[in-house]
Structures are given as C-alpha cells and as structure tokens.
C-alpha cells in the first residue's frame, strides 16, 4: 500500500464478535485499514455488513456483549489501542480520537443545553477555564456555520433542526482538534439538500486540519464525492479496497461492480435499460458460509468459491481484493459501468409521451384539482382569550395534478414538503380540506370509508416501510389472497391459485406462500406488498418511498420489478421519493413539491436540464452522484425549512432561494411559466433568464 511515513491508523486482522444467546458470532472478520493524516477513507457497506461495528471497534469502544478477538492489531500512531484500559482510552477519546454519530437527535442529551454539552467535551479535552472554553466553543460554532451561536448554546437539542443538531455533533468532535475522526453515517436521515451542506462543511473543515477521517456510509454517491480511498465491506469482510477513482472505474470485485452499477444515476431512465441488480440477500451472521461470503449472489461463482474462502490479496497498485477471479474482471470498463456481468436487458420500446400538458398519449386517469389539506392547530391560552383562530398547518395547499393511464408520475421534495400527505389524500387515508379528485372523470369520495368497492379496487398503495407493511401474524398467502377475495370477488380456491400466480410475478418462489413476514428479508417483504397491491388489478398504485428503506443492491431489483409490472398491467404509478435519481429512473413525468405546493412539473428528462426552478436546481445539484469524476458546483440551501403553519409570503421558497430577485418574491405569488413540451415552472424569473444563468448539472450523455 502507499504507506509513506507513519500511518495515523493501522488496523490488521481485526475480528469483532458479538454474543448472541451464549454464542459468540464474529460479526466482522479480518478487517484491515490504513489511514494517513488529512486522508478521508470511506467505508461502504449495506445494512448488516458490520460497518457500524467497525466504527465503534476503531474507537476501541464496544458494548458489553462485544469483543475484539485476539490476534488483531489496532494501532493509532504509537499507541496500541487494544492494550489500552478504559481509563487510558478515555484520555484518547477526550482529545485525539473523536466520533461523530449517526442520528444526532438521539446522540445529544435531550435535557442538557447544547452549550453545556459541548463545553463538557471541551473541558474533558483541555484544562481551560470557562471563559476561554466559551470563546472556543463560539469560534467552533462559527466554523460549522451555526447561525447565531450564542442562542444555539442556550437551546435544548429538540429545539434545533436535524441539520443543526448534526453540526453540533461535528463541532463537538472537532473542537479538540482531533487527529483521528470516525464518522458513522453522519448524514443518513437528513434531506439531500442538508446532506450536501454537511458534506461540504466536512470537506472544508478537514482540509484545514491534519485530521484523518474514516467515513462510514451506505451511500456510494457520498463516497464518490468525499473520499480518497474506499473500503467495501460485505457480510463482515472486506471485499475490496482501492482509491475512489479505481473503485468506480475499475472495480475488481464482482460485488463492488454490482453495487456501483445498481445505483440509478440522475437522468437514467427505465426506458433505456433495466437497472442491474444483485440477486438474493446477504447471508445471515449466524450462518456465514465457509467459502466466499458473496458466492451465493455472485454471477461469476465457481465451485472453488464455495469451497475455499478467497484471501484478501494485495494488488500491485496498492489495492486489496478478496476474490478468486479478480483477474478476469481487470478489463477497464466504460466510464458509466454497464457491464454485461449482471446482464443488460434492453427494454422493449415503451410509448414515450410527447407532451405533458396536452395529453397526446394515454387518457387522463386521475385529475387532482386544487387539493388542500389543512391540519388544525390547537389554540393556546392567549388565542382562546383573544378569540384568535390560529393558522392551520398547510400540509398540502392547492395542488393540481394529472395522472395518465399506464404512466408514472414522480413526486419529489424534502421531508416536510407534504408529498406523503398528498399521497394519503389521494388514497383516502386522510380527508381533504378542499379541492377535488376525479378518477376516470368521476368524482372520488373523501375517505376510504365512503368509497365504493370499485374505486377501492382501482386505487392501491405500496408503503415505505417493509417492516410494517405486512401483518406479522398473517402468512404471505393470506396477505395476498385477502384483496383477491375482498376486491375481486374470487372464491377461496381461485384466490389461492391467483395468489401463487402473483407471487411468481414478483419473482418469489411458491414456497414463500407459507412464510411469515419475519422470515422474509426487506426486499422480499416489499415484493409481497407489491403483489398485494396488484392483486385487485388497480389502475393507479401509489408508491410512497417504496425503496428508501432497502439496501442499494436490493433497491434496483424492486425498481426493475415495478417497471416490469407496469408494462404488463398498464397501471399508473404515483411514485413518491426524496431521491431524485430513483424518481428520475421510473417516472415519465416529475412534479417537484415544496411546502405544500408544486413548483415545477415536467417530463423526466426535461427536469434534469435547464431551465430549472431554483429549488429543483438545488435539489439536482445536491444529488451525491456515484461518480468521482462528476463535479458540479453545489447550490447550497440553508437547512431551516419554514414551518407549514407560518408560511412565507409571496413565493414560499424565497427564504432559501439563491436566485431571489427582489421584493416581488416576498410579496407576490409567482406565476406558472410554460417551457417547452408541457414543462411548467412556477417562478418570477422568466425561463430564458433561468436557462441563461444555469448550467447543465447532469452531463447530457447521462440523460437518456
């Protein structure tokens, strides 16, 4: 490896076990890592890969049911961490080795003011007086771009937004100028716009310091944008280690290749090709195969792989790979890896729409007009005495949408934009406060309770969380046959047969019919939920973030399945996601939502090209593209979303808009402006000016 001079961190043969009911299970095996000052090394893995275990093991902090097996080495500069007692580690934790946790809201003590919590860290690191400590804290808060640091220090964690909380944890870690920083998914759970801001901040802060960083994430895009070297972890073992460029351009391990090519890139569409996906699921930790851990899912598998575990080989260019057949993968791949390994399946031609507004193809399936949902707010004492009606929370505030038969409308927006409420209004789980819904020209009743059988069977939904979307006490067969009996009126025998047919269509073997949800993986549960949604042969399926809880390697298979089922059934989708690339892949038309209103509607490929609405522009620029060569200037938005109870006047986006032109944005609601081919943008800036000012954020050749 390119170990010149002294490494900051050297890890060798590290094996970490957990005790589960009297048994020690090696969750991470033979882990290795070398880190130099000023270097950011990424550690990517899917859930269950052991990456968070590694994060805590690198801190030499394990829970009481975890242990590091002997024979490993964990060397931090001159310190052998594995030989350190807790008291000795405490001194290192106080100053030299710091940790930035995932989910900052849980990592901050809810009953202690922010200032005290940060000062506590500072005082553990240095013996300084209170005044000096306070000054340093203010400086640090300033460095992490916390607005109004004095007031932040006086607040409790729950009074801060998620982005601000994460800045606090970063400030807490960097305040002692540590030599080593372990960051465990610090942006997971944040909006893409906030994530972009935090990543930018981390990059800047590290560049000013000598700190070495181990950055743990499941997001390949983040790795590509941030890290120098990357380790790929799978089922507790390193599959591959390489520089970020090599890893994305010439993956030497079939798993890496599968991972890199299964992520949809912004602008990539189902019309061009299926996404590549890795079949199957990661092995359970209690049943780790004797041979290669990836063998079960590997397209290159040979008998040797199942018999013998491949060694972690060092390649001549400083890379590591654990595969018997890496040499066969050494051929350089084109910049956007579309290898034939996982099989490229060009899709049969789908009808592409010409116009969004005009309605060339596909009759209008659903017409949403001026749909509104206001949640009333309970009045406080002053409002009761003053007989003031408090303004309601305007979750959805006048949305017009058109869905066409057999097509997919994508809906994107940050959390809090009202997209899920919109979906729930359409499906009838929430009662609308105003506006109308028409399905095939007929008015649709407000809530599910009032809707006819016919309407119910035409509208179905796939939910976000596979964990909760199936009843744990019903078998797969029971889950699927119920809508067949209830909505399609089939007899019990016919329903059983049809349930098996549906299972086959979502690529699950017949034996799955008798399984229960806790015997299924996340991806399998979501397939069952999709089968259940299709059971009534609906015209419209609302997909509310159906893949956001899934790992990337599973996600692409579900997206492919959704596309294929749409081809067969001709159902329309309303596909909701915070992930613009995922929406872009599946959607024909995309609507961008912000604080209860739509700001841009257009054909999918139009949306990735200027003119953009300034908000869309920020969203697109914030996408962490899984390609280290992709460099765009990010448009960073402040991370405080105005409350839906207290909406900004004029254009709702003006408080965060980087292209605000003046007072008009604060006073007048912007007009809808018509671009080409039914592309609509709601902005005060004329589209020509927007086009002139904006650059292509996604290179044209990637938009297909």
């Amino acid at each position: 490896m390119n170990a010149t001079g002294q490494n900051l961190l050297e890890v060798d043969h590290l094996t970490i076990s957990y005790r589960v009911e009297d048994q020690w299970i090696p969750a991470v095996r033979d882990f290795r890592l070398q880190l130099q000052p000023r270097q950011i090394v990424g550690l990517v893995g899917e859930s269950g890969s052991g990456k968070s275990t590694v994060a805590l093991a690198l801190m030499h902090y394990l829970s009481s049911n975890g242990r590091v097996e002997s024979g490993g080495r964990l060397q931090f500069k001159d310190e052998d961490l594995l030989r350190k007692s807790n008291a000795e580690m405490r001194q290192l934790w106080a100053k030299r080795i710091k940790f930035v946790p995932q989910n900052a809201s849980a990592a901050l003590n809810p009953s202690i003011k922010i200032g005290r919590q940060v000062m506590e860290a500072l005082k553990a690191a240095d013996d300084i007086d209170g005044h000096e400590a306070y000054k340093r804290m203010m400086q640090m808060f300033h460095d992490v771009n916390l607005v109004d640091p004095e007031r932040v220090a006086e607040r409790y964690p729950h009074e801060l937004s998620g982005g601000m909380q994460q800045r606090v944890t970063i400030a807490m870690a960097l305040i002692s100028n540590p030599e080593l920083l372990i960051m465990d998914e610090p942006t997971t759970g944040l909006d893409v716009t906030t994530e972009a801001v935090i990543l930018d901040l981390v990059r800047g802060l590290i560049a000013e310091r000598d700190t070495g960083v181990v950055y743990i994430t499941h997001n390949l895009g983040v790795v590509a944008q941030l890290c120098e070297r990357v380790l790929v972890l799978y089922a507790g073992e390193i599959m591959e280690e390489a520089s970020v460029l090599d890893l994305f351009q010439q993956p030497r391990h079939p798993y890496t290749l599968g991972l890199v090519s299964s992520v949809p890139r912004p602008g990539q569409s189902k019309r061009a090709a299926q996404l590549q996906s890795i079949a199957g699921n990661p092995p359970s930790l209690t049943r780790i195969p004797g041979g290669c851990v990836f063998a079960e899912r590997c397209p290159l598998v040979i008998d040797l792989c199942r018999e013998r575990k491949p060694p972690l080989e060092s390649l001549e260019d400083g890379r590591l790979v654990r595969c018997h057949r890496w040499e066969e993968l050494s051929q350089p791949l084109p910049p956007t890896p579309t290898s034939h390994l996982y099989g490229e399946h060009p899709r049969h031609q789908m009808p592409t729409i010409e116009m969004v507004g005009g309605g060339a193809n596909g009759e209008t399936l659903m017409q949403v007009s001026d749909l509104t949902k206001h949640f009333p707010v309970e009045r406080n004492l002053r409002e009761i005495l003053g007989r003031i009606e408090p303004s309601p929370i305007r979750a959805v505030d006048g949305v017009d949408l058109q869905l066409r038969a057999g097509q997919t409308l994508g809906l994107v927006g940050e959390s809090g934009s009202g997209k899920t409420t919109l979906a729930r209004l359409i499906i009838g789980l929430e009662e609308r406060s105003g506006g109308s819904l028409q399905l095939l020209g007929l008015d649709v009743r407000n809530s599910v309770r009032e809707r006819s059988q016919d309407v119910l069977s035409k509208l179905q939904m796939v939910f976000q969380n596979p964990q909760n979307s199936l009843n744990p006490y019903l078998s797969v067969r029971q889950a699927i046959r119920r809508p067949l009996i209830k909505l399609r009126g089939l007899s019990a025998e016919a329903a059983d047969a049809e349930a098996l047919a549906l299972l086959a269509r979502v690529n699950l073997r017949a034996e799955y019919a008798e399984r229960y949800p806790d015997e299924l993986s996340g991806g399998e549960k979501q397939r069952v939920a999709i089968a259940r949604a299709f059971a009534s042969d609906p015209d419209l399926i609302i997909c509310d973030e159906p893949v956001s809880a899934l790992d990337v390697s599973v996600q692409s298979a579900v997206l492919n399945l959704l596309a294929a089922l749409q081809d067969d059934h001709g159902s329309a989708y309303l596909f909701i996601s915070h992930n613009l690339s995922v929406v872009g892949y599946l959607a024909d038309t995309i609507a961008v939502m912000y604080l209860g209103q739509l700001f841009e509607v257009g054909e999918a490929r139009e949306l990735f090209q200027p003119p953009y609405h300034p908000y869309t522009e920020a969203l697109v620029s914030a996408i962490p593209v899984p390609d280290p060569l992709h460099a765009t200037e990010r448009i960073l938005l402040s991370d405080d979303l105005p409350s839906a109870q207290n909406l900004p006047s004029g254009c709702r986006f003006h408080t965060r808009c980087p292209r605000k032109i003046g007072e008009i944005c604060e006073t007048d609601e912007p007009p809808w402006r018509q671009g080409g081919a039914g592309h609509l943008i709601r902005c005060h800036i004329p589209l020509e000016e927007l086009t002139a000012a904006q650059s292509d954020l996604i290179p044209l050749d990637e938009v297909v």
């Binding site: 939904m461 029971q478 209830k486 939920a529 259940r532 009534s536």
Partner: protein, 307 residues
C-alpha cells in the same frame, strides 16, 4: 386462516416457554403456579378430609409434618382450636382463591381488551372521553374502591335465590373485574394506538375492510402478547387482593377455608395457642403470590424479547 394465526401465536408461546425455562426462577414460579392450580382443581380429592369444617379431630394438635423423614403424619399442619385439620383446609382453600382471582381476571381481560381495542381504533372524542374517565377512576385506590363497593353490597339484604343475592355472593369476583377492566382497557388501547398506525392496517383500510375485521383480524393478534403480560400481572394483583380482602373479613364468610380468613381468625391471642393455624395459610399465600409474580415476570421478559 384462523388456525394459522393461532399456530403463529403458539409459536410465540413456545418461545415464551423456552425463555421461561432459561430463567430458573421463572420456571420455578410457573411450576409452583401449576402445582397450586392442581390443588385448586382436585382439592376435594387430594385433601385427606374433604369437609373443611369437620371438627371431629382433637383440638390444637401440633403439625405432624416431618420434612426430614418425608412423612406427613395424621395432621401434617396440625389442627386448629376447633379441631379442624389445617392441612385439608389449606388444600381446599386453593379452589376459591383461584376461582375468584382467575375468573375475575379473565372477565376483566376479555371486557377490558374489547373496550381498549375499540377505543384505540376508534380514536376521536369517544376515546378521549372514555380515556379520561378511566384515568380518573384509576386515581381512586383499588382497595378503597373495592372496600366501598363491598361495604355497600354486603349491607344490602336480599331474598335468598334472587339475582341480587347471586351477585352479592360473587361480589369480590365482580369487584376484581370492575377494578381491572379500565386498567386492561388502557393497556389494550395504547398497544392498539401503536399498531393502528402500522402500514398493514392502512393497507386493510384502503381495501375497504370493515372495522370489525380490522380490529379483530389485523390488530388483535399483535395486541395479544401485551394482553398476556397484563393478564398475568392482573392475576397476581387479583390473588393479592382476594387474600387481603379475606383477611380484612370482607371476603369469604366463616367458616369457609379461605386462606386470608384463616389468617385473620388465628391471629392475636390465638396465635400463641396455635401458631401453625396462622402460619400455614399465610405461607400458602406467600408462596402463591411469589410464584405468580415470578411467572408473570418471566412472561413479560419473554414477550418483550419476542417483539
């Protein structure tokens, strides 16, 4: 379909049983409860003298039980001042405490969970109102409410054989269920509130399932584990309460072989004469209460682990 759900639940209870066995104290508790249950069911067959008020024996005979020699003797727990065999009375007393506490608990669990499921699923002002009333009722101490109820009912004179008389005879059983219905309802309600927001319930709503179907087919199975925990807890409190009421003289009337009553009848000056007549029923109560507590603790642990 129903059978499958039941088999699913029985898998969960198999796991409960295994967890119980892994903790020796819970296993011991469960075994002891089973032992007392056998006494309760087959007391008349097991007791040497099936008439608890048979006064034909010598009075104040000390216990003949010899644990070292594993011998029971003529009167293992001795006889009381009236010449009644304490051993037989203790065995025969198990029946009433199990019947009252068990049936009372069962009744409260069935009615309470139905109420709680309905409240939790329905939501809105109905739930708000009933919930507040329940909270208010729970502010009154259970024993106080029980004493007031019993005090009133016992003072009413009814014609023998009338329904009121039947009610008065089972007053403790009714009081237990009345006291515990709101508590069980609250547990069922909060679990229902949690389950109701799960997406599988919404999936049932969007295919137009009836409220009855959603409550009993979709939600109930997921509520059952917490109801089982609550039922075992309620049972232990019920035993506690039955024994206490018996002791205070508001339970079974003399000369019935009620453990609490036996303790009360033999305290004070009589304790000096026949300590065993107090100590054995007190010991029986103590062991049963401890056993039920250990068992319900094990059930709670197993269910929490399973979820």
């Amino acid at each position: 379909m129903r059978a499958l759900t039941i088999s699913r639940l029985s898998v969960a209870f198999g796991r409960t049983a295994r967890t119980q066995l892994r903790h020796p104290q819970s296993a011991a508790g469960t075994l002891l409860v089973a032992f007392f249950l056998i006494l309760a069911l087959f007391g008349p067959q097991l007791a040497p003298h099936s008439n608890p008020n048979d006064q034909s024996h010598d009075v104040r005979v000390p216990p003949t039980l010899d644990p070292g020699a594993l011998q029971l003797g003529e009167h293992p727990f001795g006889t009381d001042r009236l010449g009644r065999d304490v051993y037989s009375r203790v065995i025969l007393g198990a029946g009433s405490i199990f019947r009252i506490a068990g049936l009372g608990t069962l009744l409260s669990v069935i009615l309470g969970s139905a109420l709680g499921l309905f409240m939790g699923y329905q939501g809105g002002w109905v739930d708000e109102l009933i919930g507040r009333v329940i909270d208010a009722l729970l502010a009154i101490p259970a024993l106080l409410l029980a004493l007031v109820l019993i005090g009133i009912i016992r003072n009413l004179d009814f014609a023998a054989g009338s329904w009121q008389a039947a009610l008065a005879d089972n007053v403790i059983l009714l009081v237990i269920s009345l006291l515990y219905i709101p508590i069980v309802a609250r547990v069922a309600r909060s679990t229902t509130l949690d389950i109701k927001t799960r997406e599988f319930v919404e999936a049932a709503q969007i295919r137009g399932e009836s409220q009855f179907y959603i409550i009993f087919r979709e939600i109930l199975p997921s509520v059952i584990p917490s109801l089982v925990v609550e039922a075992s807890l309620r049972f232990s409190y019920a035993i506690f309460l039955v024994a206490s009421l018996g002791f205070l003289g508001f339970g079974a009337r003399p000369p019935s072989p009620d453990w609490g009553l036996m303790v009360n009848e033999n305290r004070g000056g009589f304790y000096q004469l026949t300590p065993w007549a107090l100590e054995f029923p007190a010991l029986a109560i103590a062991i049963l209460v401890i056993a039920v507590n250990l068992m319900s603790d094990g059930i709670r642990r197993a269910v929490q682990k399973g979820s």
